[in-house]
Amino acid sequence: MNAAEYDFIAARRRLEAKGKSAGEKLTSVDDAARRVHDGDVVAVGGCLFSRTPMALVREILRQRRRRLTLVRNLMCTEGEFMMVAGAAERVMTAWMSIGLPWGVSKIMREFVEGGKVAMEEWSHLALGLRFRAAAMGVPFLPTLTMLGSDLVGVGGMKTVQDPYTGQTLGAVPALFPQVAILHVHRADRFGNCQIDGYPHMDADIARAATTVLVTAEEIVPESVIRRHSDRTVIPGFVVDALVHAPFGSFPHECYGLYEADYDHFDEYVRAIDANGSRAVEQYLARYVYEPPSFADYLDLFGGERLARQQARARELTEA
């Protein structure tokens, strides 16, 4: 564990030195992604194949970033992309693969077993508390989880004594990433963000990071946000760049809007079963490097497929 990860004083000074404008945040996805630098610790919003900021992941890959530490509570295809593209040298997560039907990630196995990428495993809650401690501006949070397991030695979690009862608890260190990349349902142009359904860890991640990049399914008038201010989870002054990206998580899901494309995962995994990471290289060429814009990327799936996934989402949420 790198001491800069939990240095709450330096992390606060970075925010103090930063403008916190209530003004315009809208920009292009490539301009937004340019705020990510080689060697950064990048926290990825959403969870597994839900609300993954795919448009930003794609652009970070196109800009050929290197030596990134990728942090996400449950990692999915975006993690495999970053590994095969050589963008990530380290991942911090509680679990990585796509999901039960697709088995253990062969890409993760190849890169981690081969020593090409370091996989620092924390428990799901511990990773959530690392973000929350940072969001609260403190260097650690006390907890009763992860104690006694071999995960303690992996991440280097220490303990702390409760000054009141004398009881020893786990002390989960804060994690202050350089950059957070998030995908949300709606935002106004000033970066006030709203999320529908399960919130995952996005709100904590946004507060923990120094730089916050957001893509949104919909850019709505300020009045829409203010009429439902109790739905806002990230305030505009926290956001550095906002990008309008419909289907910005596809082929991953966005609650209420489109279901994850399991068929696409089937094809993707079949190709890996046949050709290993070469298949992912071909996938990246086709879906990431060749299509100039995200709209071009979506065309590869086609409107019919997108519409089908929208219908499936409605069946599950308009109940």
Partner: protein
């Protein structure tokens, strides 16, 4: 299919469901544990609340659209609350989650589970497994944890290579001494029977066998010696009722095999 042939997954789901009492909460993993919890709710525990680590409380099962992951719309179907991942686990840390209900991978004589790495070096493992997900938190924070797993010798090892999720650690008071003040693994429900743990040594032991299974068969399929409880009972076979309810959740037999 005729109820006379019962798949391993069906057996686990039914036997698992019977472990859950009414007016409680259960932190369930997707797949067989979730099906078992849903069966318990429909059969004998109508006031049971399901909680899923995706930050989902009180969901329903939509037949034919069974959840694949802990974080998707299928899992949140008709849920009563979506608190988020961290806050769902914090409910467990506070003491609101009675049961943890999970599948096993590599498990040892003290109920410790490994879902991280095979081999001696964590950073250069022989085999890298997906990782803990929420298993470590569920086993650390719930009042009582029940593991559902196929009973195979390769899974039941004397000592796991890596303790991803702490059971009773080295037995005796070691779990509490490690700072895990609450909970622990109470039962391991397998395809051969039901295992528990000695109250003192916390070593795994045989508590029940499924119909037609002998304690010898269980021992043959276990990689470490197993004591027997004072009385080893024989479980009631799954009833047609239980199987019918269970199968209605999974008409495509995605998880029931």
């Amino acid at each position: 299919m005729p109820s006379t042939t019962v798949t391993s997954a069906e057996l686990l789901a039914v036997m698992g469901a019977r472990q859950l009492r009414d007016d409680t909460t259960v932190f369930a993993g997707v797949g067989v544990p979730l099906l078992a919890a849903a069966l318990a709710q429909q059969r004998h525990a109508p006031q049971l609340t399901l909680v899923i680590e995706g930050g989902i409380i009180g969901p329903r099962i939509k037949p034919g659209r069974l959840p694949i992951s802990t974080n998707e719309m299928r899992t949140a179907y008709r849920a009563s609350m979506l608190p988020g991942i961290t806050d769902a686990f914090l409910l467990a840390q506070r003491g609101f989650l009675d049961y943890g209900f999970m599948g096993g991978a590599q498990i040892d004589a003290f109920g410790n589970i490994n879902t991280s790495t095979l081999g001696a070096d964590y950073w250069r493992p022989r085999v890298r497994l997906p990782g803990t997900g929420g298993a470590n938190d569920i086993i650390s924070l719930c009042r009582e944890v029940i593991i559902l797993t196929a009973h195979e010798k390769r899974r039941f090892v004397p000592k796991v290579d890596f303790i991803t999720s702490p059971g009773w650690l080295d037995g005796d008071g070691s779990r509490r001494r490690a700072g895990l003040l609450f909970g622990g693994v109470s039962r391991v429900v397998t395809t051969l029977g039901i295992l528990g743990f000695d109250g003192e040594s916390r070593r795994m032991r045989i508590e029940a066998t499924h119909p037609g299974v002998s304690v010898e068969q269980i021992r043959e399929n276990t990689g470490f010696p197993l004591e027997e409880a004072a009385t080893v009972t024989v479980t009631e076979p799954p009833t047609d009722d239980e199987l019918a309810m269970l199968r209605a959740f999974d008409p495509d037999r995605r998880f029931l095999g």
